[in-house]
Each structure stands twice: as structure tokens, then as C-alpha cells.
């Protein structure tokens, strides 16, 4: 069996879970049946949905997230299912507990994979490395744990039949981490990760007030606002908008970089965008080397004109 750790929000499976299921089904040369595990609290409602996607479903009621608990629960499910491959969703959370699981299993870990396949004895994966600049192909003999990078894979459809459901008893490690406070980002509008257009402002905008126009353009194009680290460090924009190595990784249809120099650490978060558009007063700025379209000019003159042109287009 192949085991999928199904990410959910307490009521529904997340999109990432449906992508991970597709990845598991693609490995049918290793095993034809797929088991799922739900980890968390009050799992009954999600279980109704989840059992339609798997041959066997395990429920691990372990309370709120910690990496140690998630790894212990996934390990219990893996042992029960006798799974040689465990699939989970990437992102910060998935990538925080899967190394612990791989270590417990003595398995290889393939992180944030774009595509996965098998010859029956190995899992072969492609992924990005070197700050998203290199595409590499890796192979690892079973057992293997891998995370699927979000938004890379078609969503799985339910199976014709419902899987068996079993509650797991998980031996929980002694609690070592106590959550004192959790701040969840509230974002209005389209989320950065899902947006088809991202309009990012850099330090060259000169002031937090200038971002009013960045927001206006993003709204007109139905997109989300992004920011560089320089802008976040200056306190002009919230960290949740930062794109790059230590921020978010985005891959929209159009990435519009306004007064952004295009440092490699910034590129790490946007270099796979379909079209890259740059406005910068410096024709030598690195961002132009990876741009499809660009304007050399003063952002304070070009941005208002872009807004006017976008408005005309809308009418």
C-alpha cells in the first residue's frame, strides 16, 4: 500500500491532499491500493469526504498540530498499512514533520517534488534546487517519503467505492512544545499563492504610501500584491506579502515587478512565473535579464499610466 497523509482544514480536504492522492495513484507499479490518514481533531466530518478517495482510511485524533505529533501519527499509520511510500503535501508545515517520519522509517526523503514516477523499486522525482534555479532528477530506493509541491498536480477524483475506516491508537511523544499564541494572517482579496497576476513593489517606490497605486493596479487586474524583503524590512508592507527565498514562492501567469532590482533571493520566489514584467529606471537592473516585457522609466510616471491603460482596457 501507499499511504497519503491527507491535509485538511477541519471540515474539508485541502487541494494539496487531492494532489497528493493523484501522486500516490501514479505509483501503481509499487502498489495498487492507496491508504489515507487524517491527523488532527474532530475528524469525523472530514472522514466522510476522505473515505471516498482511498481503499483504507486511518484516523489519528491527536489534537492541534506539532511536528512531533504529526510524525508519530503518520508513522503509526505507515506501520499499520505496511506502506513503502508515504506522500504528503509540501509547504512549511509538511516539510517540518516529514523529515522526522523519514528518519523513523529509515526512509529516503524527497522534498517538494514537482513530478514523481517509479520503476517499481525506486521513486524518481524532479524538483528545483539552488534557489529554484536548477531542475534536478533524484532517485531513491524504497522506503521513500516525499512531499508534493502544491499546485503541481491534477486533483484526484473519488473512487467508485468507499474505503474502510479505522481509528488509530498513536503513542504520542511527551509534549515538548506548548503553543502560547497563534497569529493567522488575514488577507483580503486573492491569496498570493493562488493569484494569476501578482503585482510586486520594491524599494524603488520610495514610500509605503506609493503602494496605494500598486494595490490599485493589482485590484484592476484581479491580482494580489507582493513585496520585496527591502520593503518588508522597512515596515512598508506585511511579511505575508514577501516573495522570495525567505518569503513565498509564486508562479502566476503574469508577475509584474515595479521598482524591484531582482536579487537572486527575490528571483527564488518568482522565476518560474509564466510571464515576467518589469518597470525599473535602471536599464541594467538584474530583473530585466529574466523579463519578458519591461519598461525602463520612473515608476512614479509609468505606474499611474499603467493604471489608466488598465482601466481603459476594462471599459
Amino acid at each position: 500500500m501507499i499511504l497519503v497523509v491527507l491535509e485538511h482544514d477541519g471540515t474539508r480536504l485541502r487541494k494539496g491532499a487531492l494532489e497528493a492522492l493523484t501522486r500516490a495513484r501514479q505509483l501503481n507499479a509499487i502498489a495498487g491500493s492507496v491508504a489515507g490518514v487524517l491527523i488532527g481533531e474532530n475528524l469525523a466530518a472530514v472522514a466522510e469526504e476522505a473515505k471516498r478517495y482511498v481503499n483504507a482510511l486511518y484516523l489519528a485524533e491527536v489534537g492541534p498540530y506539532t511536528a512531533e505529533k504529526w510524525a508519530a501519527a503518520a508513522y503509526a499509520a505507515q506501520q499499520k498499512a505496511g506502506a513503502q511510500v508515504v506522500v504528503a503535501t509540501g509547504g512549511r508545515q509538511g516539510r517540518s514533520w516529514t523529515p522526522r517520519l523519514a528518519f523513523k522509517m529509515g526512509a529516503a526523503l524527497l522534498e517538494d517534488t514537482l513530478e514523481t514516477s517509479t520503476d517499481g523499486s525506486k521513486v524518481i522525482a524532479t524538483r528545483y534546487s539552488f534557489l529554484n534555479r536548477v531542475t534536478e532528477k533524484q532517485a531513491a530506493a524504497l522506503p521513500v517519503v516525499f512531499t508534493a509541491k502544491p499546485n503541481t498536480t491534477p486533483l484526484a477524483e473519488p473512487l467508485g467505492s468507499e474505503g474502510s475506516v479505522e481509528t488509530l491508537s498513536v503513542e504520542l511523544p511527551a509534549q515538548q512544545v506548548e503553543v502560547l499564541e497563534r497569529v493567522v494572517e488575514q488577507k483580503k482579496g486573492v491569496s498570493l499563492a493562488e493569484a494569476t497576476v501578482v503585482v510586486t513593489g520594491g524599494r524603488g517606490l520610495g514610500s509605503p504610501e506609493a503602494f496605494g497605486k500598486v494595490e490599485e493596479l493589482a485590484d484592476l487586474l484581479g491580482g494580489a500584491v507582493g513585496a520585496t524583503r527591502a520593503v518588508v524590512d522597512a515596515g512598508w508592507r506585511p511579511y505575508g506579502e514577501q516573495v522570495g527565498q525567505t518569503g513565498k514562492v509564486v508562479q502566476p501567469g503574469a508577475y509584474i515587478a515595479l521598482a524591484v532590482s531582482g536579487a537572486v533571493q527575490h528571483q527564488a520566489g518568482m522565476n518560474k512565473s509564466k510571464y515576467i514584467v518589469a518597470v525599473n529606471k535602471d536599464a541594467e537592473a538584474p530583473i530585466f535579464k529574466i523579463a519578458d516585457y519591461g519598461v525602463v522609466g520612473d515608476v512614479h510616471q509609468v505606474l499611474p499610466a499603467l493604471i489608466e491603460a488598465a482601466k481603459k482596457l476594462k471599459d
Binding site: A67, F103, K104, L109, E111, F130, Q176, V177, V183, Y275
Partner: protein
């Protein structure tokens, strides 16, 4: 108290990468202390300055990694332990190899980089924690010791938002932007670092992950750049026209 930073040496991100025979070529590349590891080095030096004790650098890699260890010692760390191997090892195997050394050192806590800038891996910190049976806090943006080093209060980033946790020590922390501003090595620091102890431990491990091929698949970019210095309005109109009619993205 003893504070450990686990570090790695990586190609400088600013430099161009060359691929030869399907692998990234390290010959002639400028190699540096990974920038996300620098935050860990700075943090263990600060902790030692505040609470006393020792700041120790641990690295696993080929002989050349010594340069990165010396950089960390020049910043102010006290000594280094270098697990030497020419075999590139995946992070899970590295954790296995590092566990004994770290356990023997019996530190108050361990720092390592949030993401490695060569392999883009985020696994090493969590894998070390598992190998030692310790908790891990990933993407740490601030840290405060409590109760003489019995526990720590830390803030760290989540996928969406952040969390403040209290964690029993010893524990592993991985770094994130905002944790601190790393200091530059000073000239006297560099001189002193030359005499600081680096204990060498040869190791022999087999990796679990094989890298079959590396390529740079850069999308062919169109590079259509319009001069907007004289007539910004015309340039903006032309850009919007291209995005609408040619790229069809707006």
C-alpha cells in the same frame, strides 16, 4: 551553557552556476557560508555573549568546508567540529551522522539554516531533532531563554502567519529572516580564528538519495523592453497592449 550552530558551505548565489555533465560544477565557483546558516552562527554567538558558555560550530562535508567553519569562528564562535567526508549525503543521512557528535557535546540548543541554498532542503534541522529525540522549531524569528536554559520562548513562521511557542530544551531551531543581523568578521577576528580549534572526525556513510541529473531549464524570456524615459504614457499603453493582445495574461 553550550550553543551549537550546524553550518554548510555553498556556492555564492550571486555567482553564475555552471552545469557540466549533468551536474552543477563546483570548480571555480565562489563558495561561502550559507546565508541562512549565518543567522544561526550569529544567534549562538549572541546567546553565548548573553549567558556565558561556548558557541560551537559543527559542519559535515568535504575538506573545503573548513573555510566556512573559519568564517564562523572569525565572527566569534569558539571552536569547530568538522565531520569530514567526500560523499555528498542527503539531509536524513547527515542527521544520522551528526547525531552522535551533537549528543556527546550535550548542548543547550542547536541552530541550523531554515533552507539550504544549494539543495533547497528544509529537512536537516527536523531530521537532527528526530535523531536526538528533541523537539524542533522551524523558521525561528526570535528566541529567548527561560529558567537558566530549561526552556525557550520562540516566535516562528507558519505557512500563513506565525506562532509563539515555549519549547523544552535541548531543542533544534531553524533560522528565518528577522532573527538577527549577522556581524561581519573583523580583521582581529580573522587572525584569532586561525588559531581556534577545529576537531576533524572522518566519517563513512552511504547516501539514500541519488542525484541523476541537474539542468538549468530557464524559460526563454522575450526580453521586450520599452524605453519609457521620454514618453512614459506611451510606454505604459504599449506594455498593457502587449500583455493583453500578445501574452493574453490581462
Amino acid at each position: 551553557m553550550k550553543f551549537i550552530a550546524v553550518i554548510r558551505q555553498v556556492p555564492d548565489n550571486e555567482a553564475k552556476l555552471r552545469i557540466e555533465g549533468g551536474q552543477v560544477n563546483y570548480e571555480g565557483a565562489t563558495l561561502i557560508l550559507d546565508q541562512m546558516d549565518e543567522w544561526g552562527v550569529e544567534e549562538v554567538i549572541r546567546l553565548k555573549e548573553q549567558h556565558g558558555g561556548e558557541a560551537v560550530i559543527v559542519a559535515l562535508g568535504p575538506e573545503r568546508f573548513e573555510e566556512a567553519i573559519r568564517t564562523a569562528l572569525a565572527m566569534g564562535a569558539d571552536r569547530g567540529v568538522h565531520l569530514v567526508t567526500d560523499t555528498p549525503l542527503d539531509p536524513i543521512t547527515q542527521a544520522q551522522a551528526l547525531a552522535d557528535t551533537i549528543r556527546d557535546e550535550a548542548p543547550t540548543l542547536v541552530f541550523t539554516g531554515g533552507q539550504q541554498s544549494d539543495w533547497d532542503s528544509q529537512a536537516l534541522g527536523a531530521a537532527i531533532a528526530e535523531a536526538l529525540g528533541w523537539p524542533v522549531v522551524t523558521w525561528t524569528t526570535s528566541l529567548e531563554l527561560e529558567g537558566e536554559g530549561a526552556s525557550a520562548k520562540a516566535k516562528h513562521d507558519l505557512d500563513e502567519g506565525a506562532e509563539v511557542v515555549r519549547v523544552n530544551l535541548p531543542a533544534v531551531f531553524t533560522t528565518q529572516q528577522g532573527l538577527n543581523e549577522p556581524r561581519y568578521p573583523t580583521l582581529p577576528g580573522i587572525m584569532k580564528a586561525k588559531k581556534k580549534e577545529i576537531r576533524k572526525v572522518p566519517i563513512a556513510f552511504e547516501g539514500k538519495v541519488e542525484v541523476l541529473e541537474q539542468t538549468i531549464q530557464e524559460r526563454q524570456r522575450l526580453g521586450k523592453v520599452i524605453d519609457g524615459t521620454k514618453d512614459p504614457v506611451a510606454a505604459a499603453n504599449e506594455l498593457v497592449r502587449l500583455l493583453h493582445e500578445e501574452a493574453k495574461v490581462i
